[in-house]
Amino acid sequence: MTKIAVRCSGLSKRFGRAPAVEDVNLEVEEGSFLALLGPSGCGKTTLLRLIAGFETPDSGTVEVGGRKVTGPGVFVPPEKRRVGIVFQDYALFPHLDVAANIAYGLPRGSEQRERVQEMLSLVGLKEFQSRMTHELSGGEQQRVALARSLAPGPELLLLDEPFSNLDADLRARIRAEVKGILARAEATVIFVTHDQEEAMFIGDRVGVMNAGQLEQIDTPEAIFHRPATPFVAQVVGIVDFLSGKVQGRAVATEVGLLPLREDLPDGGAVKVMLRPDFIDIRPAADGVGVIVDRVFQGVYYLYSVQLPSGAMVRSLQHHNRCYPINTSVAVKMNPGHDAVYFADR
C-alpha cells in the first residue's frame, strides 16, 4: 500500500469575512504530483501556505508524513514541518552564491558539501555553483530554487506558480526539465497554477479550485472528459453550454437529439456541455446556425455559430474548410464524443 504524504481534512481559512479556503479535503500519495488549478484569487495559494505553515487555519487539520502538523491545539512551525516550498519569484537569497543557497537548509558538516554537489548535478548547474543568483537566467534561478528546497529531503514539495515568471517560449522546455528533476528526486509535489495545460502536463492528478472550494480532484483525463461541475469544465478548455430536455435515452437540444448514457429523470431540464471538437458544421441554406466569427489557428479554424435561441456553439474545422462569415450552416454532433450533462436549475 502506498503511503499518504500529505492529508488535509476540513481545512478552512477566512480573511476578514471572505472565505479563502473552505472545507478542503485532499490526500497526496508519496511520490505523486498533484496540480491545483484555478483562477487567481480562488484560494490555491492560501491552501499552499496553510500546508507550509505560513498561515494558521480557522479549522481543519493537516498531516504531513503521517504526523499532524496543524489541528486543534497543534501547530508545528514551518521550519519543523519538512515541507519545502518554491515561490513564484523563487525568493533566492541575493547575498549568497548558488552553492550557499543550496546549502542553506542543510546541517553543517562534511555531508553538506556532498549533498550540495549532488543537488547541483541533479539540476545540471555544476559550473554555476559560485555564481551570484542575479547573474543567472530565469530558468537557472528556478533550478537553484528547486535544488535548494529539495536538498534537505522534504516529505513534500510545494510549488507556487513556478513558471509564471518565464517567457512563453521558455516555459514549455523548462516545464519538462522541472518535471524530470522532480521525478528523479522522487519528490511528492503539490503544484499551484492557473494554466490548465501546465496542470495537465505536470499533475498525476489535478484539483480544480473555485472560490475557496476544491470542486473536483481526479486524473487529468477524468477532469477533462467528466468534469463534475460546469466550472471545472470551463477551466479545462473551451466549452459551450446548451439547454436541453431529457427524452428517454436522449437529450433534445437545438442541434438535435444527443445520446444519453446516464440515468436522468425523463423530462428534466439539463445543461449540455459541448467542446469545439464535438461539433461539425456544413454549409446548408436551411441550416439552424449562422457563422458569426472565424478565428484562424493554423491547422484549424475555430468557428462561432449562433443558434436561433441566441446561444452560441463553437466548432473546430480543418483549415481546408474555410467558410465566410454569415454562412448558414447545419450543426450536428460528431460521432464518438460524449456530451456532458449537468442538471439545470
Binding site: 507550509a52 505553515g53 505560513f54 512551525p77 514551518p78 521550519e79 519543523k80 514541518r81 519538512r82 515541507v83 519545502g84 516550498i85 515561490f87 513564484q88 519569484d89 525568493a91 533566492l92 537569497f93 541575493p94 547575498h95 542553506y104 537548509g105 530554487a145 535548494r148 528546497s149 534537505p152
Partner: protein, 514 residues
C-alpha cells in the same frame, strides 16, 4: 516586546514635559502669556519661515541645474553643494561673526581700497538666518535630487505634445510632482531651524531654544523652562502637520513600467556662465568661506603658540560617543523598523509614530527632561555616559529607522519564508537572511546618526559627564569666551571627521543610481 520598551523610553521626555507643565503654578502660566514669550514666539516663527523659504528658493534652481541641464562638472557640483551638511550651525555662526561682522575680515579687506569703516550689524536676525540657511539647505537639495531623478520623462513629453511650452510644462507638470519632495525637505529645514541652538545663541537671536537654555542656566527655573519647551513642541507639531497637508493626497508614481529613461536634458547655451556663477557662489559662501576662515584662525593660533594637544582627546571623545550613539540607535531602530514593515497593524503603526518623537522634540528639551528624570528616578546613571547616549538615541532614532525601513521594504517576505521552510527558526532567519540583506540600510542609518551626533550641541552640553569634552563642546566654550583661534582646530577636525560618513552616504546614493 523590545519595540514596546523602546517606545516607552522614547516617550519619556514628552511625559516629563506634560507632568511638569501640569504641576506648574499660576505664575508659570502667566509667564507663558507675557509679551516676552510672544516676542520669542514671533522671532522663532519668522526665522523658521525665512530660512525655509530661502532654502527652497535656492535649492530648486540648484537641483534643476545639476540634474536636468548640461551644466559642466555636474557631479562635482553635486558633491560640493551637499557638503555643507557636515558643518554644525554654531561653526557657521562663528564664521559669520568673524568674517562678516561689523569689523570682521570682510570689512578689513574692503577697508583699504574702498574705505569701508563698518559693515552693517550681523548679530541678530540676518546672521542667524544666514548661518542656519547655509548648513540646512542641503536637506531640500537632497530630497529634490532624489525626486528629480525619479521623474517620469514621458509625463513631460506628453505635456509638450499637448501644446505646452517648456516653461508651462515645468510649472504645470514638473513642479507639482516635486511638491512632496519640497514639502519633505522644507520640513527638515523648518525643524532644524526650530531646534537649532548653536547658531541662534552665538548670534544672539533669542528664539525658544536659547530662552529655555537661559532659563535653565540662570535661574534653574525648571517649571518655566518646561512650559517654554511645551510651546516649542507645539510649534514643532504644527510644522509636522503642515507638511502632511502640503504633501497633498495625489499619489506620485511612474505611469510606465520598465526601464527608466533618463529625463531630457536642457541645453544652457550662453546661460551656462551665469549658471556656473550661481553654483560657484553658493559653494563659495557655504563651503569655502567657512573652511578658509577656520584655516586663517588656525594659522594665527598656531603662530601665536596655541597648544594643540587638548584637541586630540576631544576628537577621540567625539568619535567614541558618536560611534556608541550610532550603534545604540541602530540596535534600537531595528525592532521598530521590523515591526512596522513586517507586522503592520494599529499597534505597530502607533509604535512607529512614537519613535518619531525625536523629530519634534528639540535636543535641549530632551536633555532637560533627562536631567530631571536622571536626578529624580535614575541617580545611578545621572551624569554618566549612559544618559547622554540615551538622549542621542531618543533624538536620532527616526534617522536610523528611516533607511532601515526602506531597506527592509526591498527584502521580499518570500525570501524569509523560504528560509523558514528550509528549517531555520525565526531568529536564525533574522541573523542569516534579514540582517545581511538590510545591511546597506543599517550602515546608512549608522552613518547618519554618527554625523548628527558629532554636530549635536545642547544635549551634549547639558548631559555630558563632568570633565567630558567633545569637539562640539570645545568649539562652543572657546567661541562663547571669544577665543576664536582655539575654536578653529576642533571645528576643522569636526568637519574632517564628519566628511567620512558623509562620503559614505553620497557614494551609496551614487551606487543606487547605476
Amino acid at each position: 516586546m523590545p519595540a514596546v520598551l523602546i517606545a516607552v523610553v522614547v516617550s519619556l521626555p514628552l511625559a516629563y514635559l506634560l507632568l511638569r507643565s501640569l504641576g506648574a503654578g499660576g505664575e508659570t502660566w502667566d509667564l507663558l502669556f507675557r509679551s516676552r514669550t510672544l516676542d520669542i514666539l514671533g522671532r522663532t516663527v519668522v526665522l523658521v519661515i525665512a530660512v525655509t523659504v530661502v532654502s527652497v528658493a535656492i535649492s530648486l534652481p540648484l537641483a534643476w541645474l545639476i540634474n536636468r541641464t548640461d551644466l559642466p562638472f555636474r557631479r562635482v557640483w553635486l558633491v560640493l553643494t551637499m557638503l555643507p551638511l557636515v558643518i554644525p550651525s554654531y561653526v557657521a555662526g562663528l564664521v559669520i561673526v568673524t568674517a562678516l561682522g561689523p569689523r570682521g575680515m570682510l570689512q578689513q579687506v574692503l577697508a583699504a581700497p574702498f574705505g569701508v569703516e563698518r559693515l552693517p550689524e550681523i548679530y541678530g536676525f540676518p546672521g542667524a538666518m544666514l548661518a542656519i540657511f547655509l548648513v540646512s539647505y542641503p536637506y531640500v537639495l537632497l530630497t529634490l535630487h532624489a525626486s528629480m531623478r525619479g521623474l517620469d520623462p514621458s509625463l513631460e513629453e506628453a505635456s509638450r505634445s499637448l501644446g505646452h511650452g517648456p516653461w508651462d510644462t515645468f510649472r504645470r507638470i514638473t513642479l507639482p510632482q516635486l511638491r512632496p519632495a519640497i514639502a519633505a525637505g522644507g520640513l527638515l529645514v523648518a525643524l532644524y531651524t526650530l531646534k537649532d541652538f548653536g547658531a541662534v545663541s552665538l548670534l544672539r537671536y533669542e528664539t525658544f531654544t536659547w530662552a529655555i537654555y537661559l532659563q535653565y542656566q540662570t535661574s534653574f527655573d525648571r517649571m518655566a523652562a518646561a512650559a517654554l519647551s511645551l510651546v516649542l513642541v507645539v510649534v514643532a507639531v504644527i510644522i509636522l502637520v503642515t507638511e502632511v497637508r502640503t504633501r497633498g493626497r495625489s499619489q506620485y508614481h511612474r505611469s510606465t513600467v520598465g526601464v527608466a529613461r533618463p529625463p531630457a536634458c536642457t541645453r544652457l547655451g550662453r546661460w551656462r556662465w551665469p549658471a556656473l556663477g550661481f553654483c560657484a557662489m553658493i559653494v563659495l559662501v557655504a563651503l569655502i568661506m567657512p573652511i578658509s576662515v577656520l584655516s586663517y584662525w588656525l594659522v594665527r593660533g598656531v603662530s601665536a603658540g596655541e597648544p594643540l594637544n587638548v584637541v586630540w582627546s576631544s576628537a577621540l571623545n567625539s568619535g567614541y560617543v558618536s560611534g556608541l550613539a550610532a550603534a545604540a540607535t541602530v540596535v534600537a531602530a531595528l525592532p521598530v523598523a521590523i515591526l512596522a514593515v513586517r507586522y503592520s497593524g494599529r499597534i505597530s503603526a502607533l509604535l512607529e509614530r512614537v519613535s518619531y518623537v525625536g523629530f519634534a522634540l528639540p535636543g535641549i528639551v530632551i536633555a532637560l527632561a533627562l536631567v530631571f528624570f536622571g536626578a529624580n528616578y535614575a541617580t545611578p546613571i545621572y551624569q554618566t555616559m549612559g544618559l547622554l547616549i540615551l538622549a542621542y538615541v531618543i533624538m536620532f532614532l527616526p534617522q536610523a529607522v528611516g533607511p532601515i525601513r526602506s531597506s527592509l521594504l526591498q527584502v521580499s517576505r518570500r525570501v524569509e519564508e523560504a528560509a523558514r521552510s528550509l528549517g531555520r527558526s525565526p531568529l536564525q532567519v533574522l541573523a542569516t537572511v534579514t540582517l545581511p540583506l538590510v545591511r546597506p540600510g543599517i550602515l546608512a542609518g549608522a552613518a547618519l546618526v554618527f554625523l548628527t551626533t558629532m554636530k549635536e550641541l545642547p544635549a551634549t552640553l547639558i548631559l555630558s559627564p563632568i570633565g567630558f569634552k567633545t569637539l562640539a563642546t570645545s568649539i562652543w566654550s572657546a567661541t562663547s569666551e571669544g577665543f576664536f583661534a582655539r575654536a578653529a582646530v576642533p571645528a576643522l577636525l569636526l568637519i574632517l571627521v564628519s566628511s567620512v560618513p558623509m562620503a559614505l552616504l553620497v557614494m551609496r546614493e551614487r551606487r543606487g543610481q547605476s
